[in-house]
């Protein structure tokens, strides 16, 4: 997806989210989300996803039994390479990972086909997750203590996103990336990282840094990069075709 189509999708999805946002009061961070409110919020998701009796794959995979499911594992659904990789790396849909994914799909899975800007309100997400939880086989297996409802904030601090990276420093640092990732943008075995919008790059790296994403090598690499260094890399790799 090009930068400009991403922006359009962003604008449209945001409008949809705003249109259906309930006017309900704030929910405490430790309380379980309200499945009924979640059902209303799910209207946004329904453009692509079905859930419930006889739900089938549509633009997106069906969401029955999504809790505990390995990412990218619904049969006969054609997933993006990124989602399949994430699943093989060990990404499992839990309340926490769903929360991160709903907040910003790209922070969790690069190049996911889920063209959704994300749901910024932690409260709203907890409602949607509570709604989806009802369609999983064994909701009883999901302990109450698990953050089904907690309003975890995965968002990258806007101050970090605002850092203007030094592409020269990024070019130097890129040496470490280019041992595995190719500058040509080859996507074979190791994902391509060239030409990404900066913000996508930054949120992805922070998702490794905060260990929301599972891949151990990337957690290690990102874990020791400073915010400025990530910004520098983002600036450099964005500049590569």
């Amino acid at each position: 997806m090009s930068v400009w189509t991403a922006r359009i999708v962003k604008a449209v999805s945001l409008a949809m989210v705003l249109a259906v946002s309930p006017a309900s009061g704030p929910v405490g961070a430790s309380e379980i989300g309200d499945a009924k409110t979640g059902a209303r919020l799910f209207q946004v998701c329904k453009a692509c996803h079905r859930v419930g009796k006889d739900a089938r794959n549509s633009v997106g995979p069906h969401l029955n039994g999504v809790f505990g499911r390995v990412a990218g594992s619904v049969e006969a659904f054609r997933y993006s390479e990124g989602l399949i990789r994430a699943g093989a790396d060990g990404l499992i849909w839990t309340a926490d990972s769903l929360d991160a994914y709903l907040e910003n799909p790209k922070s969790l899975v690069s190049r996911t086909r889920m063209n959704f800007i994300g749901m910024p309100s932690a409260e709203d997400r907890s409602h949607v997750i509570a709604y989806l939880r009802a369609f999983s086989d064994k909701p009883s297996d999901i302990p109450e203590a698990e953050p089904t409802s907690t309003a975890t904030d995965h968002a990258v601090d806007p101050a970090i996103l605002a850092i203007v990276g030094d592409p020269d420093y990024g070019e130097y640092l890129s040496g470490e990336c280019l041992t595995c990732h190719q500058k040509s943008g080859s996507d074979s075995g190791i994902p391509a990282i060239t030409g990404w919008p900066r913000e996508d790059f930054v949120v992805a790296m922070h998702a490794y840094k905060t260990e929301i994403r599972p891949h151990p090598v990337m957690r290690m690499i990102a874990g020791r990069l400073s915010d400025e260094e990530i910004a520098g890399l983002a600036a450099y790799f964005e500049s590569l075709e």
């Binding site: 990789r85 699943g87 093989a88 790396d89 060990g90 420093y169 130097y172 640092l173 040496g175 470490e176 280019l178 041992t179 595995c180 990732h181 190719q182 500058k183 040509s184 080859s186 074979s188 075995g189 190791i190 151990p216 090598v217 957690r219 290690m220 690499i221 874990g223 020791r224």
Partner: protein
Amino acid sequence: MSLSRRSILKGAAATAALTTAPMIMGASHGKPKVVVVGGGAGGATVARYLAKDSKGALDVTLIEPTRTYFSCFFSNLYLGGFRSLESLGHTYGTLASEYGINVVHDWAVGVDRDKKTVSLAGGAALPYDRLVLSPGIDFVDGSVPGWDVTKQNHMPHAYKAGSQTELLKAQVEAMRPGGVFAMVAPPNPYRCPPGPYERVSMVAHMLKEKNPKAKILIFDPKKKFSKQGLFQAGWENSYPGMVDWLDAEFTGALEEVRPESMELVVGGEVTKADVVNVIPAMKAGRIAEQAAITNDKGWAPVVPATLQSREDENIHVLGDSAHQGDMPKSGFSANSQAKVAANAIRGALTGSKVFPAKFSNTCWSLIGTNNGVKVGAAYEATAEKIAKTSGFISQNGEDAALRKQTYEESIGWYAGISKDMFG
């Protein structure tokens, strides 16, 4: 961005203009000269990064005797039938034509540290401002009694890839049904810590298909080895009953090998084998010894942040030959160190900004079809050594999809590092 011919010429012109002003750094005339000895993961990478990032301001010479470099990494996969030997061969044409590196196919045979020259077997002496030695490993004479380089046709080491690897593969293929493959494993430290055990996995894979009653014996002077739990579980699952790992504490020491009769004498007992893979103890490549920068163990101690020799600040040592601390001797490590050294050398010779050193390593190994595992770590430079800061390792019981992905990732890495070395 690859360095175009034009930018090299432009760089040359700029440097020419500067020569009327006094040189800031670098004792010689014209552009500062960097000579790199060894065209592997350390040497090819440092030459390429120096040429690329200095945009023509440095005169870079790469000395490598072979015209086609066969990577030691992935050569076990050739033994197992997962790669062709050709796919592991790389040439230096792009480094010469795209990056302006002077590639000299010759042996470096001596270093005159006072005159700052490297002498070649062909007779030339090349002056340098900075010398990078990345010669890989050599074997310690007498470390396996009865074995020396004249016996490597009987008992191959196959620890420098190419004809030795082909020979070992041919020997395994020609083994009699139910025959014995014996490996003499090396003591620490040595190139590619998981390498001998990945090799056993690949030999087992080949034997399982063609010679399922054959046996593999590993005679090991070490009490434990890299990824031991992963390998041993993998052997048990994929090649049950085929592999015996025998440490010296259990068997007694290896006393000698007898290449003529294909025997090994271990703890007083004679074992006959059909194929014997002798991996002797290792030390830095010979040129490091000739430069008199090695310690009593045969490795070259370096300053962690710059990879400069502790003996001579004008010499940097990369990869297997360096005694640097916690990093394993691997192609990935050498490549990582090369970028740090390139940055330091360029800073010293051209005044470019020097960024802080960062090191990392990941070693992938293949146990069987679509069964890849990995171990890796991040490192930082302290005053004393390159020190490990964090790490990870694959786990037993991982599902098949992850193991397959790890294998595919290793293929991607191979393609990536090859580009990073050779352009």
